[in-house]
């Protein structure tokens, strides 16, 4: 049975980009990677701000509900890795990090996460196909934009579930402008937002 494993091990050297803001870090070998149990974030606000029903004009970038997802921030010198699962039907979610830069995009534009391309894979245990994000401290929260696919009614239910791991870091004395060959993984979290 496939499983969701932590992608980094104690002692790994990683490069967090953009390097002019972050740079090189070690996964602190004194702390085991810690599983972050499932956490659910509702992009709508019950029962005051629903996701509006889809209109016959279709979804445009302007008619979704935005949510800065600080619920999955971690502490100082901590890095979090999350798989994202859309658990409610009738919504599609775009992910931004930082707020003006969409993560899952291609030349045609931003790809939208929904049950069928997240929960479907998670239920089958195919974790490699489940979209993932990284969050560094509380500096790089993702922004979620939910758009309804329901043309009959508004909904207060636009929930995304996060599960993953967090890692303690410490910063070695490696110049940020060096391309260090022992780097295990490069992680891009986008420009600092807070």
């Amino acid at each position: 049975m496939p499983t969701l494993r932590n992608p980094l091990e104690s002692g790994d050297l990683i490069l967090i980009e953009p390097r002019n803001e972050y740079g090189y870090y070690f996964i602190d070998p004194r702390f085991a990677p810690r599983v972050l149990v499932d956490k659910t974030v509702n992009i709508a606000t019950r029962f005051t701000t629903p996701i509006p029903a889809l209109t016959s004009a279709g979804a445009t970038s302007g008619n979704g509900i935005d949510h800065e997802c600080t619920e999955v921030d971690v502490g100082d010198l901590e890095l979090a890795f999350y798989k994202m699962i859309v658990i409610d039907p009738d919504i599609q979610v775009q992910v931004w990090q930082p707020a003006a830069s969409m993560i899952f995009n291609d030349k045609a534009g931003g790809r939208r996460l929904a049950q069928n391309n997240t929960l479907y894979h998670a239920e089958r245990g195919d974790w490699a196909a489940v979209p993932e994000i990284w969050v560094f401290q509380d500096d790089t929260p993702v922004k979620l934009t939910a758009t309804s696919t329901n043309m009959n009614s508004d909904t207060y239910w636009a929930r995304v579930r996060f599960l993953g791991y967090k890692f303690k870091l410490f910063q070695p004395r490696i110049a940020k402008n060096v391309d260090y060959a022992q780097t295990v993984q490069t992680i891009n979290v986008g420009a600092r937002q807070s």
């Binding site: 659910t40 509702n42 019950r46 029962f47 658990i87 929960l119 239920e123 207060y156 239910w157």
Partner: protein, 128 residues
């Protein structure tokens, strides 16, 4: 027939309600809408016994928490989300595949048209 297919992140809860007041809004279940629960539920099994000797009963369900006006209401006894006809001195049993997967986000309220009804529901609810 055994219910149920419980969807991911749902769990089941069984409840029983004896309803004696005809034509009166009656709360059957309150959804776990308050933080940090933040969930809703759907009926996956419904058993209603009508103990009246001669009259059938019509039982209507809609989405409302009767004692909290600040959470949304969907439907009413005249515009129910789900309705069950129960014969006199008889029972109606419906399982998941016969029940619309309507989500109740505030609660399940009901009315009956004849007294002395026993309502047994199995709810699949999520707790966020």
């Amino acid at each position: 027939m055994v219910s149920t297919i419980v969807r991911p992140y749902e769990m089941t809860e069984a409840l029983t309600k004896k309803v004696t007041a005809t034509g009166t809004d009656t709360q059957v279940w309150i959804a776990p809408y308050a933080n940090p629960a933040a969930g809703r539920g759907r009926i996956i099994k419904c058993t209603i016994h009508n103990r009246h000797a001669t009259n059938p009963s019509v039982v209507t369900f809609w989405d409302q928490h009767l004692t909290n006006a600040s959470v949304p209401t969907r439907g009413a006894t005249a515009t129910p989300l789900f309705m069950v006809l129960v014969p006199a001195l008889g029972a109606t049993v419906l399982t998941e595949e016969q029940i619309p997967a309507e989500y109740y986000q505030s609660g399940i309220a009901c009315q009956i048209t004849n007294n002395d009804n026993y309502i047994f529901l199995e709810i699949a609810k999520d707790i966020g």
